[in-house]
């Protein structure tokens, strides 16, 4: 249960997103929130690390955001409905050195996703109903399919694919088991997203 926040800690948007005033969100124009998303305090969301359309002039270091944004703002991070980003979690778009150019790729997060405290997510895609445990690290360009479960403190190697219903843990993460068939049922384990959302900011 989250502790009672000071009054007005969360900004609630029209679509029901609850965003802590203490969160650090960069490059808001490159972030899409699906609605009813919770972003807790001190969470860092790096929307400023978006992919630049012209790859020739992009510098190899962090970002290349000195370039003016092109006419169509590219999306760096997409987060689905009822997803929950805990305190001090970091969402950072994945990057790759491709043909000698360091460029960023969009980070897509599905619905009902839980990202634990102090977790670092650099995945290429995170499916629906995914649980990312506390202190977990999801490496660059990793793919977490629907109903994947990342245990606390796991380090998912860059480029790893976690299939649906699989539980991964350890460093580097390996598939250590499977969640039960009832995982993700509303109200049960994996289906607490709505309840979590309701409790935020009360």
């Amino acid at each position: 249960m989250p502790p009672k926040a000071a009054k007005g800690e969360y900004i609630e948007t029209d679509t029901g997103n609850k965003i802590s005033r203490r969160s650090q969100i960069h490059g808001t124009q490159h972030i899409i929130l699906g609605g009813k998303t919770v972003i807790q305090g001190e969470a860092v969301i790096r929307g400023d690390l978006y992919r630049t359309s012209t790859s020739s002039s992009a510098s190899g270091d962090q970002g290349g955001q000195q370039q003016p944004a092109t006419s169509t703002p590219s999306v760096a991070i997409t987060i689905g409905r009822y997803s929950y980003i805990s305190k001090q979690a970091i969402l950072r778009p994945p990057s790759r050195l491709h043909r000698g150019v360091h460029s960023f790729y969009p980070l897509k997060i599905g619905d009902h996703v839980f990202v634990g405290e102090r977790a670092v997510v650099e995945a290429a895609s995170v499916g629906n109903h995914v649980h990312v445990g506390r202190d977990a690290v999801i490496g660059s360009m990793a793919i977490l399919k629907d109903f994947a479960y990342v245990l606390d403190g796991a380090v998912v190697a860059p480029g790893m694919v976690v299939p649906s219903w699989c539980v991964v843990g350890g460093a580097p993460a390996r598939i250590v088991g499977e969640v039960g068939e009832g995982y993700g049922v509303e109200g049960a384990e994996g289906g607490m997203a709505r309840e979590r959302y309701r409790l935020v900011g009360r």
Binding site: M1, S55, S56, R99, G100, V101, G139, S140, K145, D146, F147, V155, A157, P158, G159, M160, V161, V162, P163, S164, W165, C166, P172, R174, I175, V179, G180, E181, G182, Y183, G184, V185, G187, A188, E189, G190, E195, R198, L199, R202
Partner: protein, 645 residues
């Protein structure tokens, strides 16, 4: 105890069902005897005779095997029973690679050695997946050509470390298997060169392996034998297997099945006859038992061992061991150059150094359908496609039994004791002993029929740490899981309040838990209050034990049975046998407050079997009264050793 507090586990009844076979029951008693050899007077065996009356003890060693989180349980509609992973059988629906998520046809699985045949590899050093990357760091516009390597993004290992490069970024596995055969400078003998993948250690060779007669043909030709060098381990294994098959076929008296399995020639009754004849035909025994009358039998042919490399023999060079040791001791190898035991388990047995480790093709995973073990009805059937998360059939227990959720009830500053600081939720990881905690237990019904639930719990939890438990309203109804809009329309007046009281954060300002009344009720859920007085931990000091004694005396007044029960459990508790003085030391997780709750649910379900007969017989005959009962364990929290008054 793998979940954070509070949690609820449900016990599958399969662990408690009386075993019909008396021999098995006896065996289980014996094993229970064996488990506590120091304490022969332990009352454990007697417990099994009163299976039904016994209170479920979440701390008993057997409970480990029957408690499951609710979402892992299935429900068989035919048996009307909860089914845990132990009461089902599984059938493989498809094989797929967890890395590329491509399906492998079942016909290919064995020949590929249960491993992905594409570009998916795991790092031999750290087991992280490897990525195919180009060595040529061509800038934009340059053509993506040149050598390719597999590289690990986790430990930065690349195949360059073992001197392997690939010409093209596809079909890495075939390239690698070709390379490992040739790069090690070993010419395979002709017989085995048609193998698809020498990497596949576990693949079946039966279909690819030549007849034993061919091997014998090789034997007769010393020229090819000389030319063939030492084989790699996989080929050698196959050679040996083939060789012994040939030997069995040639030595057994009836070689009608030369391709039979390895052991078949020996386990067959024919082999037994042969062994028996060894005894009877031997001269001395034969004389003793009057065997002189029998005809002297021909001496059974003797099996020989492999003699040549093509038969699988490998004679290590005389200084191999010394060379290995010297290499280990040399400065450029060191500890880091040695392969660890974990790394070696997945490699060829000859791999001793890090340079010998090869990338491992990813092991396949399976999608499985599940059946009830007793009635063979299918309970879970996933869709065939590996990427799909849907199910064709999914009978999970959560659609039948009410979903339990436990929340601490936050004492309100108004109704509760006058306190300066606003009341906070009790810290479940450190519950103070003898301080009452109120909990909200919500049961949510997923069935389309209303359910009547009766909860029962022992007044004192089993075990040495005796906590008092009271369910304020043990009997209640839960509404049917009807239209979602019903709740929205009914509860439109104060929907926020209902939800808040369920979560226990708000709404408790007016409410005080009352005995015999449900705390709150919704469309398909009901919340009741549990009152728990955590017990004191043993061995915390003299004063605390005195207090414990008082507590026990209290129990004595209340309930003689429970006291006896807890006494028995004190005796039974040293099953681990780790502590010298069990009174002084706390067993692992003994401070966890777990409450066994017996749930009995009754409902009227539609009669599906004989519907035609019941038509016109009134309302009652349309429905069938069903009931289901099971034990559930609520993990409330951990009792701290300090008094928190």
């Amino acid at each position: 105890m793998s979940r954070p507090f509070p949690y609820a586990y449900i016990s599958c009844p399969c662990a408690d069902t009386p075993v019909p076979d008396p021999a098995r029951k006896r065996r289980s008693r014996e094993t229970s005897h064996k488990s506590n050899p120091e304490d022969p007077n332990a009352p454990v065996p007697q417990d099994y005779d009163f299976e039904d009356e016994r209170t479920f003890d979440p701390r008993s060693p057997r409970s480990n095997f029957s408690l499951y989180p609710p979402e892992q349980l299935l429900y068989c509609e035919d048996c009307h029973q909860i089914k845990c992973p132990r009461c089902i059988t599984e059938e493989i629906v498809c094989w797929y690679c967890p890395n590329c998520l491509f399906e492998t046809p079942s016909s290919m699985v064995r020949s590929e050695g249960n491993r992905c045949a594409r570009n998916c590899f795991n790092c031999p050093i750290c087991t992280a997946p490897l990525a195919v990357t180009t060595l040529e760091n061509v800038t934009a516009g340059g053509s993506q050509q040149g050598p390719w390597v597999l590289s690990c993004g986790y430990c930065m290992w690349t195949t360059l470390d073992i001197g392997v490069k690939f010409d093209k970024p596809t079909n890495i596995r075939t390239q690698l298997s070709k390379m490992t055969d040739s790069s090690r400078g070993r010419q395979m003998s002709k017989t085995f060169s048609d193998l698809k993948s020498p990497l596949s250690t576990y693949s079946s060779i039966d279909d690819q392996f030549p007849l034993p007669s061919e091997i014998r043909g090789d034997e007769t030709n010393p020229a090819t034998e000389q030319s063939s060098g030492p084989l790699n381990p996989e080929a050698r294994f196959q050679a040996l297997k083939g060789f012994y098959k040939g030997q069995i076929a040639s030595t057994s008296s009836s070689p009608n099945d030369p391709l039979a399995d390895f052991g078949a020639g020996f386990s067959s009754p024919g082999a037994l006859n042969r062994i028996m004849s060894l005894y009877t035909s031997s001269s001395r025994l034969g004389n003793l038992y009057g065997g002189t009358n029998k005809k002297p039998k021909s001496k059974p042919p003797v099996m020989r061992e492999a003699l040549t490399t093509s038969e699988g023999l490998r004679v290590p060079a005389p200084d191999t061991e010394n060379a290995l040791i010297r290499r280990m001791a040399s400065d450029d190898c060191g500890w880091d150059g040695m392969a660890s035991i974990e790394q070696r388990t997945f490699q060829s047995p000859d791999a001793r150094f890090v340079e010998d480790l090869l990338p491992l093709p990813v092991l396949l995973r399976t999608k499985r359908s599940k059946r009830c073990k007793s009635c063979k009805h299918i309970l879970v059937k996933p869709e065939f496609k590996p990427q799909s998360t849907r199910f064709r059939i999914r009978l999970i227990a959560l659609s039948y039994i009410p979903l339990p959720t436990l929340k601490p009830l936050v004492p309100s500053p108004f109704a509760g004791l006058p306190s300066v600081t606003p009341a906070a939720a009790p810290n479940l990881d450190a519950l103070s002993p003898l301080k009452t905690v109120q909990l909200l237990l919500t049961l949510k019904n997923h069935m389309f029929d209303p359910v009547r639930v009766t909860l029962a719990t022992p007044s004192v939890t089993p075990g040495r740490v005796a906590s008092k438990v009271t369910i304020l309203c043990p009997q209640f109804d839960i509404g049917a899981n009807s239209d979602v809009w019903d709740e929205a329309l009914q509860g439109s007046s104060a929907p926020g309040d209902a939800r808040a009281s369920r979560s226990g954060t708000l709404g408790s300002t007016e409410k005080v838990a009352e005995a015999g009344k449900v705390w709150d009720k919704g469309r398909n859920w009901t919340t009741v209050v549990l009152e728990v007085v955590p017990g004191t931990l043993p061995g915390g000091g003299a004063t605390r034990r005195n207090r414990m004694k008082q507590h026990d005396d209290d129990n004595d007044d209340d309930n003689d049975d429970s006291d006896a029960d807890s006494d028995a459990n004190v005796n039974a508790l040293d099953w681990s046998g780790q502590t010298k003085d069990p009174n002084q030391q706390l067993q692992p997780d003994e401070d966890v407050l777990e409450i066994p709750v017996f749930v009995r649910m009754e409902w009227d379900s539609e009669n599906q079997i004989d519907q035609e007969q019941s038509v016109g017989k009134g309302q009652n005959s349309d429905t069938v009264k069903r009931e289901l009962a099971y034990w559930m364990v609520l993990g409330v929290g951990r009792i701290s050793s300090e008094m928190g008054f």
